[in-house]
Symmetry: D2
Subunit: 339 residues, 4 copies
């Protein structure tokens, strides 16, 4: 951490800051120039609040030096993390894994028709929600455990792994037998109680960026998971909130190469939530792969017009098959392949 | 809802949209002009997804007409809601209620010294957190129920009501005997499971705006609470995320008069979280009252330099007393008074 | 335009709004439902301020129906615009045109080395700035007309067209003999005086999106150019300002398919300004082409470490050549080709 | 400037960065810790691009230490600047100066009726636009010099100073005899050519914050004016663009105390443009004064319903008079007075 004092800061102000740093456990290096004094603070603590220093008298500005994350940083695993899954699938390797399926599991027929279609088109993981807390108590709330069972059974039938969203700690144990990857939604990116419990699980976690979260905050949440002992973390861009209103969110494609530079963790993209509109999903899916995404999460529904949730952003099966063909052309440009 | 078709939309496209609306339960009025066809859809449903229509062929744009909230709208109670509390305090009336106290309850001594100071300065409600999920498992996590007991005891000693944040459904029953107002934090503004349970409680709820939430979304979350049967809802502005980085968040003071126009619910402000820096709390507290806020939530600590959390945004007791004096000057400009 | 009145709006309030609309030149259709009255206003005017209606008593909300632009709308030219340039190059056709070169023209040697490299790699247009107003009066301010002459000469030598930024009305006549495309920078997107003059010019204009401009505002500025008589307008995404601070701006790749849906004008991308960092230019250039961009604008410098401006976002010639090879793989996925 | 190298950065990478800094004219201090090397660079240059260093191999992050502005910084004039105007009015002193008047000068009658009303209510400066570039070439474009003459004449009649917006360099000489303060609009905040010329003028300049500009960027533009020799600079908050759509812009009231901390320049507020809606102007004007604004800029029109521009955000004269009475109550809370 670097603390720049105001020009003309009094000596006792400088001493007060030094004392504060020492109390916080830092070793302090002082450098006094012609115009101002600059303090360097070195130490092992990462969980401090820089504002404590910013509000001290005489302080001009404070900068953290080293990123406050350790385990997620690129230098921890310079070669990059490959999350290994059943059936030999790896996320973070040469293959761009595509995870596809409906927003919610609605019925056996709906899931089988969708699952078969996405498997035929080349998807490797089946996605589907079992818990859907909705704003109206009369709306469809998800099938719960019955939905998870269907996901697992459908996945086995079509040789697909299973990913599904976990929303509360109490759902972890329930989901464990059915899913291959736990998905944490954007609203729970900073639900530290949930992250703490998922840190103890021995299955991969796909962590979505919150709509108001910086990339650094996404990495800090991933650090929380890894600090808990779960090193199989997959990150996911799904759009941030900006002033542009045409799309629900603005998908920040540049987060893909940025995460790859800062971290060793696989970085994926969800163009369905990232745009919220079916007609923008394919362009943004292509853009994500072209920018280097390690995997995609795409909503597909056998009959989007009848979907019980998010039908407007679900692809028709034939649109998904066409998209997969386009991705097969693009992937070699970044040294990758689609299944 | 109004659906504008593209210029030159085919007749079958128009029919498809009409059919879709009828299936959704709407009554449809069609108006065909020289350049385009416009459809008006009237009906009782509020829980639909406008994007379902936006993605239909031939549709240019879709607008909701009536706000999707009913109970929180101004017209439900044109005279405004006054949330009545013990001891005769009302939020939403002539008096601007000030709620003050530490970020977290840390000890009996800390709470008593702070509570006495804020009561003497004129605060009517004691605030303090009992649960503090933190990014580091080694950081202070809050005192839990022991903290709640201290809050209640301290409140009784200094004639202060008690407000504290609830973070999970399981905490509701635990907190019920101790608090007068449940506070829902910005991260939980759209935790619909939690809101559903708080809708059943017969104590007031103070709901904070999420950092990426529009005013409409804040009102929708309040609608959820009211639909559950709890009409004693208090709203709170605490800053939104913008591109400006000098402050943690940008406090949207204009949300105060906007909520007052759109809704009958009391609208309050939290300048401590809204700015994140002690030296900006007093100006923004004054601005909030001048803009018409019904109450303030202010962090005060008897010794901010030693605070276990958020010390940088906590006022010293003497700063708080000075602020209260300033507010006493300002309040009459908006026809209000401070205690 | 649709005006929804408040529930319970008085009849004289409705009449006042109708009178106001009639004075504005609209034809009004009234529809009174069980809960509220809705007014539809139809007419030829586009240059009105909806807020005039929003602030009338009894008005709940106002929606524009038809987009306020006519000439740039997709329906004006459903087949899409192809901007035809010398040498047979078209922007908006099957070929993705790449425009490349240094931020500023600095010297004959710098321009020739860069120009030769980008031409060899397949660029079709040479970019370079001649006017550089800088925050320090001691910084390099651009070569002015001498720079324009070099651009033209270098372009002829390597068979490249020329694009350069125009910043003031007085520069138009000066630039006319030298450039094939006028570039309007993000800061001037709403400089209506400049746009008015460029509307009279018979050379294409590439209009960049402002960093705080919505897509609708970009289209409105294009409408201004077209209304002035210049139909050869090319749009360009170059990043918007968001809360994310890792990159200078957040490049909104989704603007590419959105503009293609709303308008017939070609939509291009500038990944150099869109990211501000050399190591993010190639991923975002690839993403732009994968999302359907009609052309790219890329900063390349023969020696970026010595560049007088924007060196940090300029590619090395060998990086540019590699990028072009990658784009040649990607373009067929969207039915396009690179030169 | 502080440059933190990656953990494990090679020695030649460190040397390359040091060499680069030395070439840029900096003196370099090196500090090598257990985990990483940190370089401190000290020097007089302020007009460099930190990204040049960020993209060097082995660099983790770069921080500017001292703010890149010198003349506008608080330490340049710790006691604060008072801009002295004719008639003894000071902006930045004990009095909160109110500048009021119509968006545009439309006619002698309109200006006299409005000017008399705002003078009676206590305004000290008359505002009014003479140049109005509009999106439609058929809309009212402002009265030009005739409007400036009316402003001056009306100001003299009612003992009001005059402020008006300058949009192009060519208008400066024309306006000089008529105005007491030049206003620079949000769109021109970074029009460095215009700022350079205004730096040479010996009349005060009121500089508005751009809708996408950080507070630091506003101060940098002010630095440009001061570096040109014009020390009478007044800053103005008028709203920034955020995701909230209910208001045109989100007025950042916290910018008022922040500018007062960082700079000695007076900081004012424009609640008319800051909100864009008449019914929000008074609350935001009150909030601005309560937060410490040195002056206000308020749009008032004798007949807003007939205004040729921005009628929706113009106050009626009686609303303005009421607002002035409210401000007289609030100002003493911050040790100020309204005329």
């Amino acid at each position: 951490m670097i603390i720049a004092m105001n020009e003309g800061a009094a000596e006792e102000q400088v001493q007060q800051v030094i004392d504060h740093l020492v109390r916080m456990g830092f070793e302090v290096h002082r450098s006094t120039g012609a115009r101002q004094t600059v303090l360097g603070a070195v130490g092992a603590r990462v969980d401090f609040d820089v504002r404590e220093l910013e509000v001290l008298n005489g302080v001009q500005e404070v900068h953290r030096i080293s990123a406050p994350y350790k385990l997620v940083g690129r230098s921890f695993r310079p070669e990059g993390t490959r999350v290994k899954l059943r059936n030999g699938l790896e996320i973070g390797g040469d293959q761009v894994a595509v995870m596809a399926g409906p927003c919610s599991v609605e019925s056996r027929e709906q899931l089988w028709r969708t699952g078969e279609a996405v498997a035929q088109a080349g998807a490797k993981v089946l996605r589907g929600g079992a818990f859907k807390p909705r704003s109206s108590p009369y709306s469809f709330q998800g099938m719960g455990e019955a939905g998870l069972k269907l996901l697992r059974e459908c996945g086995e039938q079509f040789n697909l792994l299973v990913i599904s969203e976990v929303m509360e700690i109490s759902q972890i144990a329930l989901m464990l037998p059915y899913v291959d990857i736990f998905q944490v939604g954007a609203r729970n990116m900073q639900n530290f109680n949930l992250l703490r419990e998922l840190g103890k699980v021995r299955k991969p976690v796909l962590l979505k960026r919150g709509i108001a979260a910086t990339i650094e905050e996404l990495l800090l949440s991933a650090e929380y998971l890894m600090a808990g002992g779960n090193y199989d973390v997959i990150l996911c861009e799904r759009g941030i909130r900006t002033f542009e209103t045409y799309t629900r969110n603005t998908m920040d494609i540049s987060a893909i190469p940025i995460v790859h530079k800062l971290s060793h963790l696989p970085m994926t993209a969800d163009p369905s939530h990232g745009t919220g509109r079916r007609d923008k999903v394919a362009p943004m899916a292509r853009a994500s792969v072209a920018a280097g995404a390690d995997a995609l999460l795409v909503e597909v529904h056998c009959n989007p017009d009848k979907a019980l949730s998010d039908g407007a952003q679900s692809l028709y099966p034939e649109q998904f098959a066409k998209l997969m063909d386009e991705l097969r052309i693009i992937a070699p440009a970044v040294g990758r392949r689609i299944a």
